[in-house]
Symmetry: none
Amino acid sequence: MIAAKRVFSLKGFNKATMEDIANEAELSPGTLYLYFKNKDELCVSLSLRILQYLNIKLKHVGSEKDLEPERKIEALKEAMYDVYEFDPLILINMFHLQSNEILKNLSPQLVSNIKELSASSIKAMADIFEEGIKKNVFIDKNPLALAETLWALFSGIILLEESKRLIDGNKDYLKLTLESAFEIFARGIKR
Amino acid sequence: MIAAKRVFSLKGFNKATMEDIANEAELSPGTLYLYFKNKDELCVSLSLRILQYLNIKLKHVGSEKDLEPERKIEALKEAMYDVYEFDPLILINMFHLQSNEILKNLSPQLVSNIKELSASSIKAMADIFEEGIKKNVFIDKNPLALAETLWALFSGIILLEESKRLIDGNKDYLKLTLESAFEIFARGIKR
Amino acid sequence: MIAAKRVFSLKGFNKATMEDIANEAELSPGTLYLYFKNKDELCVSLSLRILQYLNIKLKHVGSEKDLEPERKIEALKEAMYDVYEFDPLILINMFHLQSNEILKNLSPQLVSNIKELSASSIKAMADIFEEGIKKNVFIDKNPLALAETLWALFSGIILLEESKRLIDGNKDYLKLTLESAFEIFARGIKR
Amino acid sequence: MIAAKRVFSLKGFNKATMEDIANEAELSPGTLYLYFKNKDELCVSLSLRILQYLNIKLKHVGSEKDLEPERKIEALKEAMYDVYEFDPLILINMFHLQSNEILKNLSPQLVSNIKELSASSIKAMADIFEEGIKKNVFIDKNPLALAETLWALFSGIILLEESKRLIDGNKDYLKLTLESAFEIFARGIKR
DNA sequence: TATGAATGAGCATTCATTCAT
DNA sequence: CATGAATGAATGCTCATTCAT
């Protein structure tokens, strides 16, 4: 998977061949198929891994007992930025994947995994919002709706920054963009 | 382009063949190449079209003299939803495109067009925010930053809904999600 | 034909398209087919032209009454070099053509033309040799055989120099190579 | 390579498809690409093989200690005829190749191989001439120039005979033509 | 005479996948 | 558990040629 990550990052998913990955992993092409049913599943496994990482990070924020809801929003931002820095390319890929034709040909098991992890991540955020609402810190809205909005904001920013980098060759302003967006979001949900 | 739209929607970009499109258009494959340099450019042309449409809609909102800034945010939401309804698949595709390996192999002319239209769209929103800031309706933040946040929110929501549809087979809740997200955003930027 | 010559020289016969030639000639592709049955015949027409030119030159040498046979060999060399300089690429192409798969698909008329011109050129040289043999200046060999040898020598040198240029990027030493080869040939046929 | 030789001989290089060759070799098209980078390189490999064969033959003649220089010229003729008989079509193809657009797209390795073999072949002949010059049997001329002349004569004759066969349907007189040309050449370089 | 848009058969090449070892 | 040679279906793209105007 490390090899695959490296190759996908370098060549992009479509241009990377199984042979490339096998070479990078110092394995033979055939061996890859002992561990992954096909190329799609190999690709998705990478997404799953980062989704797991994100999930853990978000849950961890939720479980911090001593943190005020408002601070937790801050912590979410940090968590998201951490995940991004851990592996930008794979994160981007993951957000692409979610609405892609690849999903259609995936094994139900894997789709189910993705579904669970996504749901779990959004749930983790929703819990935080729910707490905030109960404490009268956040506006009284469906916590899930708040969580989805934040999720959308996060993924949208990731893709926007990627697109800016590709089109303009811009440097990496993600941190700033993220700060700014979270500030607006935080104000938007404050009671 | 209508044929291509149909075929891409049906089969997805990678699975659609030039022959499929030619058949749908009742043309020969060779003829497609008289009008589009290659498959990528044909695909991107579709994105360009919807980006143009979005651009016009956003500019139109900006130019409405009698509308209060707060109403214009509402109008932006309507505009975005209109564009989505005009052609969901192509809009999704467009947001994918922006951060994709396809961009790397595109003719500079086309990349430049995309760049201009994106910039112009964001600028149109930024103008609205600037007006609102001047009128002391919105918080005093860089209007461009506000615009980018809204853009990210929009694209993130589009992709999130698409992913929900693919994974859960959920019905189309975009309208609701959009409403909810815009409400938060509007509160977030209100002074 | 001038346009075709230019395009073939630039791109080579296989890579040059009829559209290239039409553009260069400021005509439409269709129009080319009013004058040439197909691409092969257009190509061969060019060869025919230079073969005609060579033919005239060689005959002219033969008809110089006041020239000793030995001088005529010198004159042949000059004639050949002239033809080469007139259009190296087309001459090379012509020698390639003669033993190529293109010939198999040519109209009988054109094949017949080539045949006649080649024969006539060789005949012109043979006449010179015959004269020399009668005058006891050249060895008593079949004049046609002498002519064919000289023809082979000429074409071989043309192709060798072309190959040297392509492989080594060497400058144009054709003149020197030709001199040297003719000297050997002249000694070889002198009584 | 045997399959390719057969197919090229039958259909000519341009008309032969990779599928034809694969079928003839009882392999799949893809497998061909495991051994040859592309069609051009497959074609050139054939040329390389005969060039190697020619090279060995010529060197062998040069290394015969007991042969007088004059006999070595005879032996060269025999060697060349042997190579021709070994595979006429491929030899013709080889001489075409040397001055062709194909060379431009070849891997540097292959071009370098061709270059070396050609040079080595000409050198082998030049050595023979040098020996003859030292022994006062041949005229005192640059041995390399003599070698190139003979090379040109050889290739020119090969192509001329091929063209005669194509145009006139003539039988194979190569042996005779070669004899005659070598006789002239031998006289031409004799002191 | 000239056009040029449309053709569509044709082909090189790729690469995910398999399977005998 | 690993191999890697072989596969062969799949497809983007080309370009000589045509024909209605």
